[in-house]
Amino acid sequence: MATLLDNIDTIVLVMFENRSFDHFLGHLSYDKLQTQADGLLSPLSQEQYENLYKGTSYKPFRIPKDINLEADLPHEFDAVDTQLAKSDVTGAFTMSGFVEAYAKATGSNPNTQADPMGFFSASQVPISSFLAQHFCVCDRWFCPLPSSTQPNRTMAFCGESAIHNTKTRPIPANNNIFDWLTTNQVRWRDYHDGLSFFALYPSLWDHMLGKNFRDYEFLFSDRLHEDSDTAPQVILVEPSYQDAPHIGPDHPNDNHAPLAIGWGEDFLRRTYEAISANKARWEKTLMVVYYDEHGGFFDHVPPPLVTYSTTGNNPHHFASMGPRVPALLISPLVEPGSVCHDVFDHTSVLQLLAEKFTPGQPYSASVQARSQQPSGPKSISVALTNTAPFLPPHAPAGQIAVTSALGDSIAVAPTPSQAMAQSFEMAAQNLLKDEKPGMLEKYPELFQWRDAVAKARGAS
């Protein structure tokens, strides 16, 4: 039976880092820009938003200015357990421990307006808010695991995970998306703005240094001019990661706290403009914008009780998904200005790929088993319901500026989080040590970074 998925030629995946739904898109309902979205509502003092710490009640507040935060927020699996705050009495997640986890991590008394409770206004996230209002916002998209970056990204791109936390180590990539696409003869490409996240997976280095990984700066022209018979059917777009090595004018734009989000918004605008540049291609494109995990920011919706055990020798058992993350479906095949309330997580994307490219065959047994749990995630194809495609609206064109506390334009990234930065550095050093073919062409900045680091460390 023909479905609207048949009208899709290209699926584009754009994953950012570490923001929750209420923090990023909660303003949609609060400011009545998209009243169907389950974001924040007045009064903010209602109990479902209330966080508790040492007898004091904390409520969400409007962030006054986009600025680098003081520090990253806690989001490792033990911190997420505190954040979900399962009630001893009712057995339900109360979502009331975000401030408590923050206080534990910082060792200081939280401000009345504690960082985890802040939410952005539309003017601070102009591109995300614009896309949410013109396309489809998913208000039941959870990160797969109540844990941190590495396990959630591994679930996103493998459908399974051998790890349950983020550490300095190489990560296994069984059943990864690149092998799956290659095996199923799907043309794919990864556009990376800086060092790819997949550097953390040694088994993917051959892919990473191959022809399917291209610099982000080629995305626009490729979308505009490339022949249909060579154009990729699946595109991954990677921002510049805060935790990765940086050199020269390169600036992180992955939205990982403590980073201000202006650069990420600009990256999203450039990506949307590139993806929609060719109108004929646009008509057959679905772009998915999502976040790997919540990053320690408050969200009020308890995650579904979808269980998962990691595949390692000493499995870790998760009893639920993680908190909600912002997610947008951008396509002329979604209802303009709509909200999808179906439960999704990152493996919903893998379900979609299987539906599209291997109909009748699941992406993997793990993804299928997950989807078959009572509250399990659906495929995002359920949101493709619009039979009257429309031209891409123009994104807001204003300058997105980020300044420092003293009002200066920021040229230097804030200090990255330790485990992820060390993982990136280890991956970069190993890649450089092996000097695999293609390294210099793909990542010339890494050689500059190596020399700069060696010089700086030699001098200290």
């Binding site: 508790l52 009712t90 109360t94």
Partner: protein, 200 residues
């Protein structure tokens, strides 16, 4: 409005990235005529930004906007900045605050207990009356004293002039429907405390 900010101990060290090793302010709630003691220890060139802010988000009709003095300590070195923000809440001589803890089940009794942050209200405020607003029968213990609040008698002055900070415990029997289904029981218990400046 006058604030007297006592600034002390700024340690400078000319190496590496700017670092704020510590930054503290005490107390964190004051009236317009009180002082705050601010201490810090950092590496880099310090700048203190002091601003007054009101949070007008989500105000009910007639409700006064919460008022903050915001202290932003910035350490700068070689074009790099780091910062920490401390919010001092400025309250009137008489104000109210909810004291709230999550519940646990001890037999057929809900217990919500814990330490109320002593840093919050510091030494310049004390308790006035306490009130339970839902009509639930609540046994309240604090600073060695106990009071019972109920629908008929929801307010008590048993804790007058005691400090706000310190250990609190609220106890309440499960109702019959709650005993039948714990999911209907509250996952937190709260009181509203009137808090007075000590000069009152």
């Amino acid at each position: 409005m006058r604030y007297f900010i006592l600034l002390s101990v700024a340690v400078l060290c000319q190496s590496c990235a700017p670092t704020i090793r510590s930054f503290s302010a005490y107390p964190q709630k004051i009236t317009a005529r009180d002082s705050v003691r601010v201490n810090w220890n950092l590496r880099g060139t310090p700048t203190m930004l002091v601003s007054q802010r009101t949070d007008s988000t989500d105000l009910a009709p007639g409700q006064a906007a919460p008022h903050f003095m915001e202290l932003t300590l910035v350490a700068k070195k070689k074009q790099k900045e780091t910062r920490k923000v401390m919010q001092i809440k400025v309250v009137p001589d008489v104000s109210t605050e909810e004291i709230v803890f999550k519940t646990e089940l001890h037999g057929d009794t809900l217990v919500a207990a814990g330490d109320k942050n002593e840093q919050d209200w510091g030494p310049i405020f004390h308790l006035g009356a306490i009130t339970e607003t839902t009509g639930r029968l609540l046994l309240v213990t604090h600073a060695g004293k106990t009071a019972t609040l109920s629908a008929a008698d929801p307010t008590s002055i048993a804790f007058q002039r005691l400090p706000v900070g310190g250990y609190w415990a609220f106890r309440s029997l499960l109702t019959a429907p709650e005993r039948a289904d714990h999911r209907t029981a509250p996952n937190r218990l709260r009181i509203t405390a009137t808090i007075l400046h000590k000069t009152r």
